[in-house]
């Protein structure tokens, strides 16, 4: 892989054009969030100007991985309950996954499932902001979407390599592009001004040793991605459970007893999400 080629792909992906409007809404919200005078109502109003986006957002907020006991029906309460960072990421997810729901249901289900496991683990491990961790899980593969959208020819080649040589998608990406989707996802998240809590777990979900400030959150997303693959929600022909970082596992410190308690909880929540995903597909 010569450096020219690598930097060419890097440039193409950094200047990403085909991703659906990371809409003006995001920029507006970021500005509003920085202003201490802004109220949740005002932010809610900005979002609700886009009806479809608002509806999707509420659907995501009410899905199993946040697990609020009562239905949240207004955007302003969603903002108060989940915080601006989560809402921003959800808007991003709603716009990106809009395409994925239609084109790549498998990746959408993998992402939802990963978010579910993140939520179960984060709550169990007493992480301060469990919602941010599940949101990181939801968007951990945005890099894949970017590659699909921006470099369709190379993406086709990557798929072929996976199938022919029976290698992981990550290895195929490294071979074709000289970069892999976690890195790409990390740049994207950063370029959207998402906080480190979201950027690091996305960027380091294959190798959580790369995380600096957000080691636990990164370890959770790393292991959730592994678990959801183990459960059979993989992506395409790359069906293998990837290797587990020893350090991440030590950090999570889960005993077999913990696992036995977590598994039924995950199964229960995945079932709810399955209904949710079916719902989205049939409501189009």
């Amino acid at each position: 892989m010569d450096d020219d080629k690598r930097s060419h792909f890097r440039k193409a992906l950094r200047e990403i054009k085909n991703l659906p409007t990371l809409p003006g809404v995001i920029i507006k919200l970021s500005k509003m969030a920085d202003d201490p005078e802004t109220t949740a109502e005002q932010m809610g109003k900005v979002i609700s100007m886009d009806h479809i986006l608002a509806a999707k957002l509420l659907k995501l907020v009410n899905s199993a991985f946040y697990g609020f006991p009562q239905k949240i029906s207004s955007l302003s309460s969603a903002i108060i309950l989940l915080g601006v960072n989560v809402i921003k990421s959800l808007i991003i997810s709603a716009s990106i996954f809009d395409i994925m729901e239609k084109q790549d249901v498998e990746l959408w289900e993998h992402s939802l499932g990963c978010a579910v496991i993140c939520s179960v683990l984060a709550k169990r491990l007493g992480v301060q902001d469990p919602d941010e961790v599940s949101t990181a899980g939801l968007i951990h593969d945005i890099g894949k979407v970017a590659i699909q959208m921006e470099l369709p020819r190379e993406n086709e080649l990557i798929n072929q390599l996976v199938l022919e040589r029976q290698i992981s998608r990550r290895d195929a990406e490294l071979e074709v592009l000289g970069l892999e989707h976690a890195e790409v996802g990390g740049w994207l998240a950063k370029s959207w001004n998402l906080p480190k809590k979201l950027v690091e777990p996305v960027a380091s979900h294959h190798d959580p040793r790369m995380a600096s400030d957000e080691q636990l959150a990164s370890a959770i997303v790393h292991f959730s991605d592994i678990m959801i693959r183990g459960l059979g929600y993989g992506h395409g022909d790359d069906v293998w459970v990837p290797s587990l970082s020893k350090r991440a596992w030590r950090l999570l410190d889960l005993s077999p007893e913990d696992m036995d308690q977590i598994l039924p909880e995950i199964e229960e929540k995945l079932w709810e999400v399955k209904g949710f995903s079916l719902d989205i597909q049939t409501n189009q």
């Binding site: 678990m227 183990g230 059979g232 587990l244 077999p256 696992m259």
Partner: protein, 102 residues
Amino acid sequence: MQEILINQADKGMVLARDVTNQDGRVLCGKGTELTDTLIERLKKIEITHVAVQGHPVTVEGERTLEEELQAIEKRFSRVSDTPPLMFLKKRLTEQMIIARRK
């Protein structure tokens, strides 16, 4: 346990999970035996899918237990040196066998 569409439900099947409404309220508890009237009622309130005990519905193209177990084998084939993941595999295999028992 099998997840089925409400249209595939039949009397005599037994719910393996609670049926809940959008707010999470339980409408019909786990262990309830389905009757024609109950199924009609669930359809009316737009319940689209339920979980039932055993594996009563044969779906075309669905993987057999044997194939499911092979798929688990394949998925975990590259991490056989990682004890925690082998533990996970063991549990998933056990669960799959129990879920398919009629």
